[in-house]
Subunit: 175 residues, 2 copies
């Protein structure tokens, strides 16, 4: 992350990262297929954690409440790791090739969350839709947090869910 | 599209496509940077059309109603072009490298739609959130349409908006 901030993503090579970390390039590539993946090392953990939080949410919550609970816990983790999470998100937002990878990771994560909702008995299609909407809300909240860190990620997340409610809560088909 | 269906995406080269189209490979690459882009040729048009529909929606609609109107018109176009749209979406869903490109195009389209909402006077952040949520709903509806074409895309789209309402319409922060 230091290197990416000092030189920019495009000007940093895998060899540079390996050198800074005190390992050789072969060792780098044993751990990461490319220099993008360094920034997504925690995604599998986050995906598993989200699925677990969905499973652990108490009975009686609506799917959206389960998702707010799960993404809220994920937000809490990111906030606790802010010194890494914040520059990471800013770097992704500023780098098209990283945004593309981030979108793919996000889509995979939404599928994992949808699967966890299904295991709670949520209808197949509703689970897919709810997971993708919640993911979009989380992504939006994370962007807000990067733009203005004076509020916490959890605050932005709750506000995003409230705004989805306000925006889509009374939609009437217009024909 | 015929070639991709006959041989699969990975087994089809740009040279194959050029040959089938009766042009040489250089001509192909004058029109498309790679073989993925052939499938996204209409995205710029769709993005411009969506922004236009958002701008043209009548006054007095909520942002979500504007979006349902705009994406509904886009759905209508896709339905009218079903013989291409349906295998295209199925191919994208089945091919990871195309899904990644599709996600990037979708994100760009959501930004364009958000900008069109802002021009209607919708608050900056609400516009961004609403556009991404609507895009996720549209994407979900398109997937449903591919999975089960016995209903139309517009029907699935309206249902997706209704389900966002049902799912997120009464969320209470759970702490």
């Amino acid at each position: 992350m230091d290197l990416y901030r000092e030189r920019g993503f495009d000007q940093t090579t895998a060899a540079d990262i390996a050198q800074r970390a005190g390992v050789n390039t072969r060792t780098f590539f044993r751990h990461f297929p490319d220099k993008r993946e360094v920034l997504f090392d925690g995604e599998a953990d986050l995906s598993a954690a989200l699925a677990q939080y969905v499973g652990e949410a108490r009975d009686g919550l609506t799917p959206a409440e389960v998702l707010l609970h799960a993404f809220g816990k994920a937000a809490h983790i990111l906030e606790g790791n802010r010194s890494f999470a914040e520059p990471r998100l800013a770097l992704i937002a500023a780098t098209p090739t990283l945004r593309e990878r981030d979108l793919a990771k996000g889509a995979a994560m939404a599928l994992s969350v949808a699967e966890a909702l299904r295991r709670r008995g949520v209808d197949d299609r509703l689970a897919d839709l709810a997971a993708h909407i919640a993911w979009a809300a989380f992504h939006h909240a994370a962007q807000n947090w990067i733009d203005d860190p004076t509020s916490g990620l959890q605050t932005y997340l709750t506000r995003a869910f409230e705004n989805v409610n306000a925006l889509f809560g009374s939609v009437r088909p217009a024909n």
